[in-house]
Amino acid sequence: MSLHQLTITEAHEGLRKKDFSARELTDACLEHINAVDGDVHAYLSVHDESARAHAQSVDEKIARGEEIGIMAGIPCAIKDVLLIEGTRTTAGSKMLEHYQASYDATVISKLKKQGTVFLGKTNLDEFAMGTSTENSAYGPTHNPWDLSRVPGGSSGGSAAAVAASECIAALGSDTGGSIRQPAGFCGVTGLKPTYGAVSRYGLIAMASSLDQIGPFAKTVEDAALFFDAIKGPDPHDSSSAAARTEQTHQSLKNPIAGMKIGIPKECFIDALDPVIEKSVRDALEVLKSLGADVVDIELPTTPYALSVYYIIQPAEVSANLARFDGMRYGTRAAWTKDLAEMYSKSRQEGLGAETRRRIILGTYTLAAGYYDAYYKKAQAVRELVRRDFANAFRTVDCIVTPTSPSLAFHIGEKSSDPLQLYLEDVFTVSANIAGVPGLAVPCGFAEKDGAHLPIGMQFLGRHFDEETILRAGYAYQQATDWHTQKSPLS
């Protein structure tokens, strides 16, 4: 196995035992990016110089005989919606084409302290809105399993970078499924932590009551280690919470015998591809064989979660993205006659079609006369969805569903119909609506039109109980080998 294909755990072992240096590990990743990213287009920018320099300083630490942390010297890819001081951060938008971040996001400063190496910034749907990464102003990312297909979205670049072994692990963000759905499409592991478990300071805000940062990795064990490295409350993010302080990776290997796993009847919708349903049912058999108790449950309000999402999300987008007006930073239109025209022209030139569509939708549902019928109603139904989960978690420890109703689709296949793309989120949005954590793992493959395509499922858990879903995912990966299959470009 080549160095760039290693997991965090394996790379850390190798660094500690001096089998290879951090510099060699980083170089291997950078060389592989050079070799395959022309086809995948996972990265929007590659920071080779600073990556090599950071790796070098980890090597000096090792040479001095100092202990290194688990994330030290690990080459990671960062979704281009997180700020790294002094580097270009575009959010996939033309609006921020030349924007240089003036500070580090909290997750970045935490990782910097630990000596993590940042390889570069990954592609995404503009401002993290989308399910295919086709909404990027810088062109789509291609799925490493079949380059004619999308990697999912919005964190498609990070998911593809892990699937193509263009990094050891990556960071993404998940507002309605943007970590879990691309993890499913690309056959990698992805964790959306509980709302508030990870600080969002330095994440370009999209929908503030839903956004959460989380890791992409090659295994559940890596995802747990990465999550432990970035979680915790932060005075800079007033919505971050004093989550449980124990390290999830420490209890990861505890058996799951007796764990109660719920399977909601609401996830077997007509639109669900039968091949995905079969894989998820097979996975439940595997979990049963490990001693888990699988039971049918009901989440009666979750069929409405998607509608709740597509009211609340655009409403918050319309408010958050009001700051992109060409005034203090970002793209400003030239030759405008007055202030009002400068705003509207700058926003026309800087923002893409999907972003503007959602701003219009959100402005409409928040407007006087419609607020009660849409936004207030959606908030009330959101509360009912939250109660559905609270009720279910009185009897089960976690819940399993597919990550998406369909396999990775072709680039361009659904882009003319926004509603079709929105339906991609049908299984993932409920977790954001309720604020609960979700862990996506590969659970099979399907042969379609000559392509070998990954299938994903997710474990949903109680608020701040990432420990249980990571433990379930870890046990599942010990019993299966879907996560060890490598894409042709890895």
């Binding site: 240089q100 400003r332 007055d338 109603k377």
Partner: protein, 97 residues
């Protein structure tokens, strides 16, 4: 719920967005079908349901009211990000004619 071109023009003005004629047509049909879809929420009985704006019920998170200093590096970076300026001053279009 059908959105007319006039509705779209009104909302676009509120959102400070300029749209082309073609976009106004396209958005009005696309947004109408999205609003039809989310209209299914009216089926849900929400009478008497109270809700919080934070899923965990977190509210009124306090921080000390202190002025933090901005370092020279951050100051330079913020100034450098301005699309148009004279010295350290941000240049904008006149507000009043």
């Amino acid at each position: 719920m059908a959105l007319t071109k006039q509705d779209i023009e009104h909302i676009a003005r509120l959102a400070r967005l300029e749209l082309s004629e073609e976009e106004k047509e396209r958005f009005s049909s696309q947004l109408s079908s999205i609003l039809d879809y989310v209209g299914q929420l009216s089926e849900v009985d929400t009478k008497g349901v109270e809700y919080h704006y934070h899923v965990e019920g977190l509210f009124n998170v306090m921080a000390p009211d202190e002025i933090g200093a901005t370092g020279q590096t951050a100051r330079d970076a913020l100034l450098a990000a301005m699309p148009d300026r004279t010295g350290d001053l941000l240049k904008v279009k006149s507000v009043f004619q």
